[in-house]
Amino acid sequence: MSWYIIRRVLQLIPVFIGATLLVYFLVFSLPGDPTAAICGERGCTPAVEAALREQYNLDQPFWVQYFLFIKGVLTFDLGVNFAGREIATIIAEVFPTTARLAIMALVFEAVFGILFGLIAGLRKGKIFDSTILVVSLVVIAVPIFVLGFLMQFIVGVKLGWASPTVSGAAPFNELILPAVVLGLVSFAYVLRLTRTSIIENVNADYVRTATAKGLSRRRVVTVHILRNSMIPVITFLGADLGALMGGAIVTEGIFNVNGVGNTLYRAVLNGEAPVVVAIVTVLILIFCIANLVVDLLYAWLDPRIRYA
């Protein structure tokens, strides 16, 4: 087991190199000259543009730029963005907020998705099952930028139950609404995954065995059915953590959360390669660890799965 973990951690190295290389290359091939973004509507003089290119190494070929970045990473100096701010400071600023938001969204989708999925699965075809299907359809069919604005308007402005925007410190209570919005689509996935898994397992032999042994229905459901239904759900949730952290562009924008998604988005629009790569690197670390944890959970959930 520990050998397996060590091996997985070592595998991070090629993933890191591959991902940074690819991301850096993508930013490098972004259309348009980054200095055009810095100079804005008015543009600057050619001399200023040339000076800016030199300042941010934009006049260097791809490999040199990439090498300079890697050198920076290895010496713990990530450099500065186009606004002259330390990239390390930016990362320290946005990741805690987004981590809170993502974990809250994950908890929301896990708790309600599994709970509702379980009930819907056990009562397949009943009224609850159908209602919840309609709810998931709405969540799937209406884009998050519409749902988000509507929920912000209704819950935040009209009802006044929550602040429509998140302040700088991003306290727990202000993040509830954005977390729910962020987790909505994934909630639909978790719900339907759980429901299907439950339906698959409800007739399994071990359930009958357990029932035959005289175990209470509650115990059969929670320990036997649920536990064995969790593998696809856990897999989804593990992968989703990474997506929630990096892909919350729309939700963070709507609720004015100063987080990873938006910082990444703006950096991409401005062609700020070092910022994009630095953020992506942290994201890779996060979900490689999440994936490892998920893989280890498989063995716990299903004793037949072994890692050597």
């Binding site: 810095i38 804005g40 006044g160 429509p164």
Partner: protein
């Protein structure tokens, strides 16, 4: 006509507010509220807060409050003295500037002639890569210090005479040059700035009506807190206990904060709420025209749009756009149809220049013109007209779509919108002259002058000349206007130059900008300036 109507609406809205505030509002609340800073919407500045490297609205709004130049502009765009006591010239080329006595920076350092000369030299020198360096282009010696790779640091046209006096020599006579001096790039800098610009940009020390509330008042991506500068005594003195810029990623979010009273002033109602704000805000909104316009430019390097047939097609396009209807329906009157190339709030604006009928909606005439063009040289269908815009910001899609539909309906030609993913990509295509169709353009005035809308955009080789218009007669008319001995005479010459543009239509003016803003129940006296920015210092809490 339309302007008059809109101003009236503003008037009504304002009087209603005043009336309401007069009878409403209990005394106790008002007292406890007055030491509270007002919260206004902002955008995270993209550069350190150094006047010459601030070229976007986010940083501009803050820099304008913490720095004061020689002059500033009042609500109508008229220059008023700030640091200057007098700006004198006899030939519109050599200026003698005398500073007022007793002006200081917030660290106690006096504002001297050297503070200005050093700041301007720093801003112009290529080695400092200041984004707004081109503002100093008129000054003698600019060409040398701003040349690529130049290590020079001082412009020969700037000379310090004594503590309070310096002279400026321009490379050619320009009668509207003093008008430009209210732009933030012309602000003075204290000595401490030159020690460490990086640190200074993070915690700037200025001489304006406001200053940073404390060291580190700029909480990135969250807010910038400003408090009144007690040492400031000028025309823009603060009437409130401070201004806090709250940073927003998009306008709709700011709007939601406004209608739930978490934000005091919103300077631009987002497109998504243009249909709602008049209901949501009762009478707490205004529509105030400002010096900005929206145009589409069609490059001359495109075969279909060059030559005599190209000119006729440009006129046909222009006449096939129903500006009135689009501004009413899409913007809910948040724009006014354009009649020329500048903006109505400017001195010298004339809405009935010869040729302005080319900007009037006239679908029958448009079809005729198109057919005339066809007779000269048939339209190459393989390159249908596109209107390029950037889709990452600014919300251009809706109006571009409306213009496209109008052209399709009225001219029966193939037209489509062409979104570019990023602003950088759009600009790079324009600069490299690789556009395949028209491009959305527009201009916000840096300083209140007709020339600012004409020279930088349509002069041969100018930086923002996206249509690559080259007309020596037009260039000559501009030079004549600059050399005129008064601003009035200059404006007349500028309008002569505009007549050529109205005939040639290198770009097609669509509409003038109107600021649609709103405020919360907690503030009063909200007015917008000539450039569409609220007069923050005049806003009061209640």
């Amino acid at each position: 006509m339309r302007l008059a109507r809109i101003s009236k609406v503003v008037g009504v809205a304002l009087t209603a507010t005043l009336a309401l505030s007069a009878c409403g509002g209990s005394g106790e609340d008002a007292a406890s509220n007055t030491d509270r800073p007002i919260v206004v919407d902002g955008v995270e500045p993209q550069n350190p807060l150094i006047p010459t490297s601030t070229n976007e609205v986010g940083g501009g709004a803050v820099v304008d409050l913490i720095f004061s130049g020689l002059v500033s502009y009042d609500a109508d765009g008229v220059s008023q003295n700030e640091m200057a006591e007098s700006i004198e010239t006899e030939d519109a080329q050599n200026y003698t500037i005398t500073l007022a006595e007793g002006k200081t920076f917030t660290n106690g350092e006096p504002v001297t002639a050297q503070s200005f000369v050093d700041a301007w030299n720093y801003g112009a020198a290529a080695k400092n890569a200041q984004l707004s360096s081109y503002f100093f282009e008129s000054i003698e010696g600019y060409d040398e210090v701003s040349a690529e790779g130049s290590e020079l640091e001082e412009m020969s046209g700037l000379t310090v005479v004594d503590e309070r006096t310096f002279t400026v020599a321009l490379s050619q006579p320009e009668s509207d040059w003093p008008l430009r001096l209210g732009y933030s790039a012309f602000s003075p800098l204290p000595e401490v700035a030159f020690e460490d610009f990086e640190a200074f940009g993070e915690n700037p020390i200025g001489n304006g009506p406001y200053k940073f509330a404390a060291e580190g008042a700029w909480e990135h991506n969250q807010q910038i807190a400003l408090v009144p500068n007690e040492d400031y005594d000028g025309p823009q003195a603060a009437q409130n206990a401070g201004v806090t810029f709250k940073m927003y990623q998009n306008g709709s979010t700011a709007y939601q904060d406004l209608i739930s009273d978490n934000l005091d002033v919103l300077k631009t109602v987002p497109t998504s709420d243009v249909q709602n704000f008049k209901n949501d805000l009762d009478d707490r909104w205004l529509e105030s025209p400002y010096a900005g316009n929206q145009t589409i430019s069609i490059p001359y390097y495109l075969e279909n749009w060059d030559g005599e047939d190209g000119k006729l097609r440009r006129q046909a396009i222009s006449m096939a756009i129903d500006r009135e209807e689009i501004t009413t329906v899409i913007f809910n009157n948040g724009r006014t149809p354009a009649t020329e190339f500048t903006a109505p709030v400017l001195e010298g604006y004339n809405d009935s220049l010869p040729g302005s009928e080319n900007l009037e909606f006239n679908p029958e005439r448009a079809v005729e013109l198109w057919e005339e063009a066809e007779a000269i040289e048939p339209y190459d269908d393989s390159e249908p007209l596109t209107i390029a815009y950037n889709a990452d910001a600014g919300d251009h899609r809706t109006w571009v779509e409306a213009v496209v539909n109008g052209l399709k309906n009225n001219l029966d030609i193939e037209v489509s919108g062409l979104p570019f993913s990023t602003f950088a990509e759009l600009r790079t295509n324009a600069t490299d002259k690789t556009l395949t169709g028209a491009i959305r353009t527009g201009w916000q005035a840096d300083y209140p002058s007709l020339y600012n809308f004409l020279g930088p955009i349509h002069a041969t080789g100018a930086g923002s000349n996206d249509s690559v218009y080259e007309n020596p007669e037009f260039d000559q008319a501009l030079s004549d206007g600059l050399a005129a001995d008064s601003v009035e005479a200059g404006a007349e010459a500028m309008n002569k130059a505009q007549e050529m543009l109205l005939e040639d239509l290198p770009s097609i003016p669509l509409w003038y900008q109107v600021a649609q803003g709103g405020w919360s129940q907690n503030v009063d006296n909200v007015e917008f300036g000539w450039n569409g920015v609220p007069l923050y210092n005049a806003i009061t809490t209640k």
